[in-house]
Assembly symmetry: C2
Homo-oligomer: 562 residues x 2
């Protein structure tokens, strides 16, 4: 229900002073995508009115600067930033964001309900209103078990909690289409339900939408997005660290359908957020692609608010939250100041000592013997695809005892179960290009076991060891040099300030650069255990055929998909 | 919460047959305001999907006809049609309407909660989904007391009832702005609240919106509507029997703001509905005024559904109600067939014996003495304004004993309290033009006492007597000829079939035509007791100054407003 503010009526009528009046601004009208030169009055964190007659206890002349509603991210995993929620909020708040719709899918796969509680606690005192969609698929699949499993009953316990908005991306498309009972129970818990249906089309898309899924952020082509929009889905155009769909999808946005289109970042590292921005970056990207700035701003504000039933925000109008983003110009869109509930975000307390959720790294570093591969002949090899999360299933004639094969860029890749269950999988990967050294990380979607690769067993084991010692993290080992970004919070996020996390990411990038490898090796590595994406993957059981959806050996066995 | 239909998933996937497939149609995409040539499949009253591969137990080739979602009236008083809800539904259903958002304000002023119950009962078996907004202002003002008073507690008893959607038009603008506690309580009961704020602007408009009112159907100029839209209100563009705002407002509708604009009819007699149509007429009017048909259809469908949070309708998409309106052409917009929940409206049972809510006509016909006027000199006279509900406050030098003054068109006007309270008010009116005869009606907003006027006391009394004998109705007396449309249901609606009501309306029109009067005298008469509208009115206490908001005498007293 929209909140009511009877006590603010006198301020709205101008018979009592406002707390603050911003004067001489170009104020965005999200309802008709136009601008209005006016003053805007705020009291108790609420916009009480627009008009030239307001008086405020404080007043500020904006000299014609542009005010738009605070920006809204329609779908994001905060964990992917590698910083904790409070620190994430500080990063994006400075870029004009005032609301994020976050899905704690990663931490829930590691720590279950305790992970969600941890993320909920991060809302307190945050300079961004963080609203959560409950992760619908923990684990992602029965073959991708991490540290927890959340059934409908576990999710039900969060219903009605402040900060809980609905059900997060439903990735189990086959389960939905099969009418799976447990999925039905989860869908029935919430009236707001996000979809996740890459490439789904035709009658199966109809069935998925009929089942109650109302949005999609996985479209990669205009045709796909247009079909989903026609069938009733809200389209979240995603522009993340590696998942970039703006170029393909922005051309579909029209004045007629803009109310059904939003922006989402899904997964962004802290360094990208700090250097290039957040939803402001999405707007700039869209405008650069030819979209009218007013439509881009509508997407980032009212459209997202409407999609989630948030009638208390998304527009600069009486009775709505005083969430404001002040920019120099609608096209350049450089954020000058962000106001959350009437208060500049800079005035929110900064993170002093972040609370951690210790990682469950219940594992020890494997022995050399445990990661040894035996065999000779035609071997299945995971083929990286640069800038994509899909992989190829390759074949090479090789002798496992002679790995690494630096000539042909064939390296070992290892996954260690981190939840106290036996499980060490070893495979071969092509595409990292490391001539020396190794890397390991405890971020590996979606089970988030430890995953490592490199140009030598010793260094691979040293990198895994460094991750375990850090109680989660990203580690690069180059000879005896060990560089670590500790991810002490569930092995996914760091409790360090964002500036420090960014500095360590830079160092890791430098170190891996000297090892002769590709750009962003950690990001690529973190997706290689994701069994829901084709073609060949590695789990703590060994190689996994993501098309046939079964474990496969490195040597021999039936022919795999490619 | 959006309903879920797990049992329909196989039909959506095409693995089970649909109940019905409409083939070869131009299907309206309300999300992007475009058309799609396709088939549409329906099962159990729900749209399961669009696509060429569906098979149905029944199939129908539409040969390129256009299907739009069932039309939605965003604000209407069914009582104003003069027919009961079931009969009203049959009338509008044949014109493509499948949902009406109705405010039982009139019957609630007569019969209170029992009146609302009566209207709710009219939902059963109706070929239109009738959803009610609870009347917020019963009585309209403390000076306009009819048969009932509904406080927040009385409204609370209807919360959560099927068919109850929110709080109807909040007419008490001064009360809202003064922060009236009882009004606050009413606003707090519902999350959907319709406004009613003619000419409200500036800071007071801001305050009214901040207080929780989200829509307005009273705009008469483009500037007024644009200001309200900018401040966050949904704009219902009204085209009723006498309240016609399309010409002024349609030019404001753009592709960018169409999602915030809807159609409403407010008050329409049955004859207009039968002969000219309902929301289909609004669409044709808008298109004739230059609006793109696709935007007009969007207003009449998805925009209205979104405004009321009805995510189960408003678009032709999987999982939504199979409410369809089949038309020949988007511009001509002649409705060929209406489908409600997958069933043609013609297949819904027609009204056999309508239930009545007997009127509380606890009054007897006054004596000649009781309607006698005394006085001589300058008299206050109500001046009709043709085609408007405002009146003028006129002055004439006259001798009351010599009325009627047919030369100067000065007739007596009488209001009799019908609720068993003493009260007979007599005044003088200019503008009806009757040379002979008299008319009376038990429809007189908002208290709905009996109101009468005419060219002679005997005939005025005979007309009142005819209304009382009919237990409510509209009566025209011409000499000894008495013509009556009985409004036996609360004195507001007739339980006769619509065709019969229309025939009687035609006869009344003929009869009053022979009396030498203006067109639509009953409609004009029914508004002359409405104290909330300037300038001079008549109540069961006598003349009322609607500007000074006080009773005034016919002769003498302080100068009145004009």
């Amino acid at each position: 229900m929209t909140p009511l503010y009877p006590d603010l009526i006198p301020a709205a009528r101008g018979t009592k002073p406002a707390d603050m009046v911003y004067r001489n601004a170009e104020i965005f009208d999200a309802f008709s995508c136009t601008w209005e030169h006016n003053d805007i009055a705020i009291k108790s964190g609420i916009i009480v009115g627009l008009g030239r007659s307001y008086r405020g206890i404080r007043e500020q002349d904006l000299h014609g600067a542009y005010i738009v509603p605070g920006l809204i991210d329609a779908h994001v995993h905060i964990e992917s930033s590698l910083v904790v929620p409070q620190e994430y909020a500080r990063l994006v708040a400075s870029h004009g964001t005032t609301t994020v719709i976050a899905d704690p899918h990663e931490i829930a796969n590691v720590a279950g309900a305790a992970g969600i509680e941890y993320m909920l606690a991060g809302r307190t005192g945050s300079p961004v209103d963080i609203l959560y969609m409950l992760p619908s698929c923990v684990p992602s699949t029965p073959l991708d078990i991490g540290g927890a499993s959340l059934d409908a009953e576990a999710l039900f316990k969060f219903c009605g909690r402040e900060g809980i908005l609905g059900l997060g991306e439903m990735m189990n498309v086959p389960g939905v289409l099969a009418g799976d009972r447990e999925i039905q129970r989860k869908l029935a818990l919430f009236s707001v339900r996000d979809g996740h249906a890459p490439l789904l089309s035709g009658v199966d898309l109809n069935a998925y939408i009929l089942a109650g899924l109302e949005s999609d952020h996985e479209c990669t082509t205009r045709g796909e997005a247009e079909e989903k929009l026609r069938r009733g889905m809200y389209i979240f155009i995603r522009e993340g660290s590696t998942e970039k769909n703006s170029a393909a999808l922005i051309p579909m946005v029209t004045p007629e359908n803009v109310s059904r289109c939003c922006f989402a970042t899904d997964d962004c590292h802290a360094d990208l957020l700090a250097r290039e921005g957040h939803i402001d970056r999405c707007i700039r990207t869209a405008v650069a692609l030819g979209l009218e700035p007013e439509l881009a701003i509508r997407m980032a504000t009212l459209s997202a608010a409407e999609r989630f039933g948030l009638s208390d925000r998304g527009a600069l109008a009486p009775g709505r939250r005083a969430d404001l983003c002040i920019v120099d110009d609608p096209v350049l869109f450089t954020v000058k100041e962000t106001i959350l509930s009437g208060k500049p975000v800079a005035a929110y307390p900064s993170l002093t000592a972040a609370v951690s959720l210790p990682a469950t790294l219940r594992c020890i570093t494997p022995s050399r013997e445990q990661i040894r591969l035996y065999g000779c002949g035609s071997a299945r090899v995971i083929g990286l695809v640069s800038g994509q999360i899909i992989t190829e299933s390759l074949h090479f004639d090789l002798d496992a005892a002679r790995l690494p094969d630096r000539e042909r860029d064939l390296l070992k890749i290892v996954v260690c179960n981190r939840y106290g269950r036996p499980g060490i999988g070893t495979g071969i990967v092509h595409g990292f290009g490391f001539k020396k050294g190794a890397i390991a990380t405890s971020v590996s979607h979606d089970a988030h076991n430890i995953i490592a690769t490199g140009a030598g067993d010793e260094e691979i084991l040293a990198a895994i060891d460094a991750v375990i010692r850090a109680r989660g993290g990203m580690a690069a080992v180059n000879g005896t040099d060990i560089t670590v970004l500790p991810l002490d919070c569930a092995g996914l996020m760091s409790t360090l300030p964002a500036s420090e996390v960014i500095a360590r990411l830079d160092t890791l990038r430098e170190v891996t650069g000297t090892m002769g490898g590709i750009a962003e090796p950690f990001m690529h590595l973190s997706f290689l255990a994701l069994t829901v994406i084709p073609a060949l993957r590695i789990t703590d059981r060994g190689l996994f055929d993501g098309v046939a959806f079964r474990d496969v050996p490195v040597f021999g066995g039936e022919e795999t998909s490619s």
